[in-house]
């Protein structure tokens, strides 16, 4: 088990390094001049050259990448003398268009994106798995049909339309909720829930149908397994069989998908954040795209990728714990 863990962790590390190199190269090889993007309309050739040396764009690519990595580990200082400034570790670069270190920009958005992701995740898992279970247990009867119709309808809405619809119903028409905003949960937990309910609902409606289907399919599949029939034949209670025999194996594949989905949502719920104008990482990336703000793009991409790799690793470890076939090779 220890060896398995070490191997997974090492692998994740290597993967992240590869992702960082890849991201770095993709943006570095774009045909735009990164130095020219640092000052926009007010650029003079001198300024461009000055910024180029300050940011190190004049050096060979590999040196740039080395500095970038070093910055992540130990922070990074740009320029010298008067114009010198430092982005503390882990430094992901400096954004000229926002006049701030990329890391602090991202750090400011993380609580927002994290809040959206966590709340949405909890809700969509509860609804997805709960309704999926009901569907499987009542297969072919009206609850199953109803759930499948509702989830198809939910799935067929584009995110932005759904979000606008929810906004209209809950905020504008019934004035039941305030317009979504970000409130710190440590200061006002109830306010946090209230303010983020609509984004959560949006994500839930978009994501649950998939989980409903996965749960329903997994359970029906498992219920046909001989070992489940043997469980019943032993004389176990229906609920015991469901809990120990059906749910366990039906939920394991779901956890894998859920881990990845959660990691991806942490990387920014782009549509949801934009429509509800929440200052999350998704919005930060969108803005970076329209501003051609390369350092921010590299940073957000890397952070999003890190979340995915991290949660992939966590689900792998989880697998090892729950499935003896992974834990004990023979």
């Amino acid at each position: 088990m220890i060896a398995y863990l070490t191997r997974r962790i090492l692998f994740a590390g290597v993967l992240l390094l590869a992702v960082s190199l890849f991201t770095f190269l993709v943006f570095a090889l774009l045909p735009t001049d990164p130095a020219a993007l640092t000052c926009g309309k007010v650029c003079t050739p001198e300024r461009i050259e000055a910024n180029r040396t300050r940011l190190g764009y004049d050096q060979p690519l590999l040196t740039q990448y080395g500095k970038f990595l070093k910055g992540i580990v130990g922070g990074r200082t740009y320029g010298e003398g008067q114009g010198e400034f430092t982005c503390g570790a882990p430094s992901l670069g400096y954004s000229f268009s926002q006049k701030d270190c990329v890391t602090s920009l991202i750090a400011r958005t993380l609580p927002v994106t994290g809040s959206i992701a966590i709340g949405g995740f909890v809700l969509w898992m509860i609804f997805g798995i709960g309704l999926g279970m009901v569907s499987a247990l009542k297969r072919g009867r009206w609850p199953d049909r109803l759930i499948s119709i509702v989830s198809v309808v939910g799935l067929s809405f584009p995110t932005f339309f759904l979000a606008l619809l929810l906004l209209f119903i809950f905020v504008i028409w019934s004035q039941f909720l305030p317009f979504p905003s970000y409130v710190s949960p440590t200061e006002d937990f109830f306010g946090w829930c209230q303010a983020l309910l609509l984004p959560w609902l949006t994500i839930t409606i978009i994501s649950s149908p998939y989980y409903i289907r996965l749960t329903r399919f997994g359970m029906l599949e498992t219920m046909n397994e001989d070992y489940v029939r043997l469980g019943i034949a032993k004389g176990l209670k229906r609920w015991t069989v469901l809990r120990k025999y059906v749910l366990r194996s039906a939920l394991i594949p779901i956890v894998t998908v859920a881990g990845l989905d959660f990691g991806a949502t942490l990387g920014g719920a782009v549509f949801t954040e934009s429509i509800f104008s929440l200052p999350g990482m998704g919005r930060l990336s969108i803005k970076a795209v329209s501003d051609s703000d390369l350092p921010v793009l590299v940073g957000t991409t890397l952070v999003a990728a890190t979340f995915i790799v991290l949660f992939n690793l966590l689900t792998d470890i989880f697998y090892g714990f729950v499935d003896p076939r992974v834990r004990i090779h023979k």
Partner: protein, 326 residues
């Protein structure tokens, strides 16, 4: 009686490196799936291969088919070495050796119609077959006892025995010389097994095919084999004609395999003294020293742990790999 050898394997060895538990996945152990097996398949005849699960039968089949590269040893087809062929040359060989699989459900693509399934190998292995393909497939279907009108049906619409016939027709499509059948009847009802066995016999007679016929049960190959090899843990322990193997079995493993076959005679059921093997086949990663069968052998003695018995005739009239044949 001795027809020419079509397919021959000399000293085939296949070790699968195992994924060890170490940090860097450096592999040190290996599964010794096939360990020095030589066989000869003669034109128009059947070689029966028998042994318990995990004894290396399927691996041998895949080596003969050139679906797996051997660790060492050679495979000869019509006297020509095919061990290291690749690409076009290998494809030409594939047209001469075809395979029938054990599981009639898993080996047929559920989304392809029977016509497509039988016709596909034609497309890959023979170039000019677009026209006349359908008639050809329907002839094949008739040949194996399927209704040619069912050309457009899908595998799930057929019973187990019929699916196995589809598998046989697919193998026949490219006009092979040799068919390697890996437990083709093990998944079928006894009554249907008999049908498939009879069909394969008939096809052999009519088309002059050679078979490598794999089974875990000596009673299955009895009706079809001209030569039989008995395998245990990657090695041949006894070989010979059916007469040798059934009338004068000399290796204790062969004797145990024979004794395990149900007698189909209720009267004898009580009185018959059965030689039931205890336990399972040991791990092929770390096979017992000396004679590999010694951990389950009722006749084992000290010598058996020390020295590996060679596969030679010890006065039985056929080769046996046992120090104390009897």
């Amino acid at each position: 009686m001795t027809s020419p050898v079509v397919l021959e394997a000399k000293n085939l060895v296949k070790y699968f490196p195992t994924v060890s538990k170490g940090l860097l996945q450096r592999s040190t152990d290996s599964v010794k799936a096939v360990d020095g097996v030589s066989v000869q398949v003669r034109a128009g005849q059947t070689l029966g291969v028998v042994g318990e699960s995990g004894c290396g039968k399927s691996t041998l089949a895949r080596l003969l088919m050139r679906l797996l590269p051997p660790t060492s040893g050679t495979v000869l087809l019509d006297g020509a070495d095919i061990t290291s062929l690749t690409g076009r040359e290998l494809r030409a060989v594939r047209a001469k050796i075809q395979m029938v699989f054990q599981d009639p459900v898993a080996s047929l693509n559920p989304r392809h119609s029977v016509g497509q399934i039988i016709g596909t190998p034609l497309k890959f292995l023979k170039e000019n077959s677009a026209s006349g393909a359908k008639e050809h497939v329907q002839e094949l279907m008739a040949l194996v006892g399927l209704n040619p009108e069912h050309y457009n049906r899908y595998p799930h619409e057929f019973s187990g025995g019929q699916r196995q016939r589809i598998g046989i027709a697919r193998a026949l499509a490219v006009g092979p010389q040799v068919i390697v059948a890996d437990e083709p009847v093990s998944a079928l009802d006894v009554s249907i097994q008999a049908q498939v066995l009879n069909l394969m016999e008939k096809l052999q007679r009519d088309l002059g095919l050679s078979y490598v016929f794999i089974a875990h049960d000596l009673s299955v190959v009895r009706h079809i084999a001209d030569e039989i090899i008995v395998m245990y843990l990657g090695k041949v322990v006894e070989s010979g004609t059916p007469k040798d193997v059934y009338s004068a079995p000399s290796h204790p493993y062969t004797q145990a395999l024979l004794s395990a076959i149900p007698l189909a005679d209720p009267r004898a059921a009580g009185t018959h003294k059965r030689m039931v093997l205890t336990g399972d086949v040991p791990s092929p990663i770390d096979p017992p020293s000396g004679c590999r069968f010694r951990t389950r052998c009722p006749r084992a003695q000290d010598l058996c742990a020390l020295e590996e018995p060679a596969l030679i005739d010890r006065g039985q009239g056929h080769p046996v790999a046992c120090h104390f044949p009897g």
